[in-house]
Symmetry: C2
Subunit: 109 residues, 2 copies
DNA sequence: TGTAAATATGTCATATTCGGCATAAATTAA
DNA sequence: TTAATTTATGCCGAATATGACATATTTACA
């Protein structure tokens, strides 16, 4: 795993256990996190493109500003489900979601 | 919404509320369900390709046979997160997941 | 037909995720 | 700089997802 990869995951606050690689990330775990971060970043981009603050967007989707912040940070406490639903609320299509995940592949370590 | 689409969603056990369309599915809700069903079906295909019973696969991913069945049925009680993690455990790549979701687009009503 | 293996369905206690709140930190504009 | 706005972080009770279990149904094959 590359150094910048490690930093990205640490920055997202991930702590995982009992594997033997550096930082304890199995390939499945890191693939999952990469996907989630790709979706998170797409969410933020879409929100900004729509000129919405986190607070405004939170009200749109009946959530809270803090949860939007955590979504966009790829926080471990948020599910992919929630991020996907939020993307759809911002007008993303199924294909847009697929493309976002697809973009994670090229960025993976 | 088409009739066969309706049946597919009903078969998956979905009950949704307070929208004005038939069966109460907003476009975001149906997009979410389509994605989930596409992932579910991909999961089943992968499991069968690997010649695993639900029970065998359940042990691999530290889950239970009943939950695997619900995953593959796209049951409302299972999250996309769980299905994605299971796909990764079966050797799917990030791109495979993206492709599965992408395939939902063409199948959507 | 029977019967064994596989899958589906319903329920429950526990674990995880959720919105909401307070507040800290950062960003922007005067 | 200051003040206003936006975003980040930590915590909590409520809501939802989870594995596990029992059991029903379906499938495969003799």
């Amino acid at each position: 795993m590359q150094e910048n990869e490690r930093k990205k995951l640490e920055a997202a606050g991930w702590k995982v256990g009992n594997v033997d690689e550096f930082l304890g990330l199995s390939s499945e775990e890191s693939a999952y996190i990469e996907m989630k971060l790709a979706l998170s970043q797409t969410l933020r981009q879409r929100r900004l493109n729509n000129h919405l603050s986190q607070m405004e967007f939170a009200k749109m989707v009946h959530s809270s500003q803090s949860r939007i912040a955590k979504m966009e940070a790829g926080d471990p406490s948020v599910s992919i489900d929630l991020i996907v639903k939020s993307l759809l609320a911002l007008g993303a299509s199924t294909q847009d979601v697929a493309n976002a995940i697809s973009s994670a592949t090229s960025r993976a370590a």
